[in-house]
């Protein structure tokens, strides 16, 4: 890319938060039509830097130069859009009650008469824009009716609707299926051809090696390295990210012994929700990690939310340790030793406005409850123990909203370990989390089932994760179980084949 024009430059950017140097004198450049991966562990400063670029944060010092012009010190996100900077966050920012085309042209709608929106023209323009991306989305549909992958395409179309020079994508594939990810990559390649610079943030290295030209690695608020993707290996990048030689435990690790499956800890019989899930039977054995795979829409999450009593079921009998139990809500589930760790830590997994310690004890007040009064001493002790063993960066009174994604997830896991359940269901336990924390979390799940009489379920869209942690793997599709793999049989090609062929 050396021959092409330098489009965007950060010059000596710094940003402090109370007690933290989030960005420390960072400089980097991006060229026209280049796809650059911005890498780093959670808390490395990538998101902060991108929020500075988008105008959401005001930088303490340094310059941003876009197209040979220095951007003003303070500007708003809507100014950033006008400069040609678009950011696509993990949590998409579309308005779900409006149609696709209305979202794409929000605030700059085509108008006919003085101030009347020309919907006909808008429809046509939206159609063109989406066609350019090869996205087959009806512009007149309400956004809330679209699957996540299509929403993302709308978001990209929206970015392109104004004259856009730089698109930042923050973890765009975390909620996408493998197929949809591939479609997204095609779109990114198209953007490149249109000379748009893409800054791509992801924790999935295989993706970065598929589409990126260059990788910039950050750690603790500074740039620690820059590599041309063609000239380096994945291990080199991981080393840069963690600042140490890759340990063996970061790579997929199998249980050393085969699990002896003799005692069932949970049996679900004839589970149906009356809509998508029809007559599902499954068992979980003591000591195993059961992986659940499948495409989006396979109703994996729905099945387990129903088993845990969070969402209503139409029918289904649940046996825990050979005893039929009636579970109507999460409270009943926890009483019966069944815990569900939500896939959306921001929506229903955590109380973001509350402290780490309050979140941890939320699942189980028993140990800290003295005749109705909370023993804060104990709360603090319990949470400090978790902070230490799970290596959470923060202290017990830190508000969860101020933690990075990986640390939030660890708080969520602490909460469920504190619940003292026998069976824990981890729904997307490492969504949006860096390699190092990912390995730590996998180890935590392993350690959990090592205890006498425990079992875990891991629901994941990340095939590598399922391959790494599962002792047994179930593949779901459209509310049914379509495949089962035991210990030795779990390997990538056959699993992928099952998912992609039986899936649709």
């Amino acid at each position: 890319m050396e021959e092409s024009r330098r489009l965007l430059e950060f010059r000596n950017i710094s940003k402090n938060f109370p007690g933290v140097k989030a960005i420390d004198d960072v400089s980097m450049s991006f060229f026209e039509g280049e796809i650059v991966a911005l890498l780093g562990e959670n808390g490395a400063g990538k998101s902060t830097l991108m929020k500075i670029l988008s105008g959401a944060y005001i930088r303490d010092g340094g310059d941003i130069i876009l197209d040979e012009e220095i951007l003003p010190h303070v500007y708003s996100p809507s100014d950033a859009r006008k400069f040609g900077i678009a950011i696509i966050y993990q949590e998409l920012s579309l308005i779900s009650e409006l149609t696709v085309m209305e979202n794409i042209y929000l605030t700059h709608e085509p108008k006919s008469f003085p101030n009347v929106i020309d919907f006909k023209k808008m429809n046509q323009m939206a159609r063109n824009q989406l066609d350019k991306l090869g996205a087959n989305v009806d512009p007149q549909k309400n956004v809330k009716e679209l699957p996540l992958s299509e929403k993302q395409m709308v978001e990209i179309a929206k970015a392109l609707a104004v004259d856009c020079k730089v698109i930042v994508m923050d973890e765009p594939t975390t909620s996408l299926t493998w197929e949809d990810s591939a479609k997204l990559f095609d779109i990114i390649r198209k953007l490149k051809k249109q000379k748009i610079t893409v800054i791509y943030i992801s924790h999935r290295l295989d993706e970065i090696f598929q589409i990126c030209d260059r990788a910039i690695v950050m750690r603790d608020g500074v740039v620690v390295g820059e590599k041309r993707i063609k000239e380096c290996s994945q291990d080199e990048i991981i080393e840069l990210m963690c600042g140490k030689v890759l340990q063996a435990d970061l790579k997929p690790q199998k249980a050393s012994m085969q699990i002896v499956r003799k005692e069932k800890i949970l049996e679900a019989e004839h589970f149906s929700d009356g809509k998508f899930i029809n007559d599902i039977n499954l068992s979980i054995y003591k000591g195993e990690i059961l992986g659940i795979g499948g495409l989006i829409g396979s109703k994996r999450t729905e099945l387990f939310r129903m088993i845990c009593g969070i969402d209503p079921k139409q029918q289904g009998i649940l046996k825990i340790k050979d005893r039929v139990v009636s579970i109507r809500n999460a409270e009943d589930a926890i009483k019966n030793g069944l815990g569900y760790l939500s896939e959306n830590r921001k929506e229903d997994g955590l109380s973001l406005g509350l402290s780490v310690e309050e979140n941890i004890v939320q699942s189980n007040y028993q140990p800290v409850n003295r005749y109705g009064i909370v023993s804060w001493e104990k709360v603090e002790k319990i949470s400090n123990d978790f902070i230490k063993t799970l290596n959470i960066k923060g202290n017990s009174s830190t508000k969860v909203i101020n933690l990075s994604g990986g640390n939030q997830q660890k708080v969520s896991i602490s909460k469920w370990l504190h619940a003292e359940c026998d069976i824990l269901i981890f729904d997307e336990p490492t969504k949006g989390i860096d390699v190092n924390s990912k390995a730590e979390i996998h180890q935590l799940i392993r350690d959990f089932v090592k205890n006498e009489g425990k079992a875990a379920v891991v629901i994941s869209s990340d095939i590598n994760e399922l391959l790494a942690v599962s002792d047994r793997l179930l593949i779901m599709s459209k509310g049914k179980i379509v495949g089962e793999f035991f210990d030795g049989e779990i390997e990538e090609t056959s699993v992928l084949k099952c998912v992609t062929t039986k899936g649709i």
């Binding site: 009483k335 939320q362 189980n364 007040y365 800290v368």
Partner: protein, 317 residues
């Protein structure tokens, strides 16, 4: 533990620092403007005047912290105090009257709570409707007239004092115990958890419906207590009592740091400061002989200023 307590106290103090500052500022202005303001008798008066609102605002704070609103509190106050007054009058027994009053308040709160927690009706609409409903019932029950002729000891209670007036003691005891209830008990922490994120609380095994139900019953309970204070001060049961008290209670909670748009925030001591703040303002304006029209204007402006200053302070830190 002492260390921990210190942190907790510090947290509450720093959280309310801005409001206290504005309150002191307001009191300074009043003192400069009129010599009649900063006297023992007037300050005691302010505390008595703040009591009815302050006591309702306790229940309101629990409701707001849990992520809900209750605008029927003024009507509950009227209805429960009329019931209490009637029972007191016809039986001649004060305890029986007080009991009836509290029972009525809790029952009305229970009605709100059932609709909101178990039938999942939106809290604003439910309490808007019951505000009219309860108020109308209070008028029907009394045929629109005040219930007079209560036992004399009611009046004695309102005027009696032990260092501080009894009414102020009642208020302080409620505040101290409710501060403890919200900050230190499992129930209180569950209220905060429900307010911060209903779904997260539900998935963590907290019985969200039960908590929501209880805070509305509490709101009814404190409205009734406030009604008793009101009844003792006027020595009668008034169906027009507590008109627009819901707004003062909400203002007290919000000045004290609670947020109407986001649950999980707010603390009881802040609400006390808020209630006193409102009473100081009303009292000062009356002493200054400001017309009632201007009083309302001033009220609106000062509440906006108080909240604006607090926002500014939070943004600066």
């Amino acid at each position: 533990m002492p260390h921990n307590n210190k942190i907790a106290i510090k947290k509450v103090l720093s959280g309310n620092f801005g409001t206290v500052l504005v309150l002191i500022f307001l009191m300074c202005i009043m003192t400069i403007l009129t010599p009649k303001f900063f006297t023992v008798s007037n300050l005691t008066n302010i505390l008595i005047q703040s009591a009815t609102n302050a006591i309702i605002a306790v229940g309101m704070t629990f409701v707001i912290v849990s992520g809900n609103t209750d605008i029927s509190v003024g009507a509950i106050l009227a209805m429960s105090s009329c019931v209490g007054a009637q029972v007191m009058k016809s039986s001649g027994s004060i305890p029986l009257g007080l009991f009836a009053s509290i029972l009525a308040g809790c029952a009305l709160g229970l009605f709100n709570g059932t609709l909101i927690a178990f039938l999942e009706f939106p809290p604003f609409i439910v309490t808007l409707s019951t505000m009219w409903l309860f108020r109308g019932l209070a008028y029907l029950f009394t045929e629109g007239r005040a219930i007079v002729g209560l036992p004399e000891s009611m009046m004695n209670f309102a005027n009696g004092k032990f260092v501080l007036p009894y009414i102020v003691w009642v208020m302080l005891i409620i505040y101290i115990s409710c501060h403890f209830l919200l900050q230190k008990t499992v129930f209180g922490r569950k209220v905060v958890a429900v307010g911060d994120s209903k779904e997260s609380a539900r998935l963590s095994g907290i019985n969200v419906k039960k908590i929501t139900f209880i805070v509305f019953v509490m709101s009814g309970f404190f409205s009734a207590i406030s009604g008793i204070v009101y009844m003792s001060r006027l020595n009668s049961g008034q169906p027009i009592a507590g008109q627009s008290y819901e707004m003062y209670a909400i203002a007290a909670s919000v000045i004290g740091g609670a947020s109407l748009t986001k649950g999980g925030i707010g603390n009881i001591l802040g609400t006390l400061i808020g209630a006193i703040f409102i009473a100081v303002l009303q009292n000062g304006l009356i002493i200054l002989n400001v017309s009632t029209y201007w009083q309302q204007v001033a009220m609106g402006i000062v509440v906006l200023l108080a909240i604006g200053l607090d926002k500014l302070r939070k943004r600066m830190s």
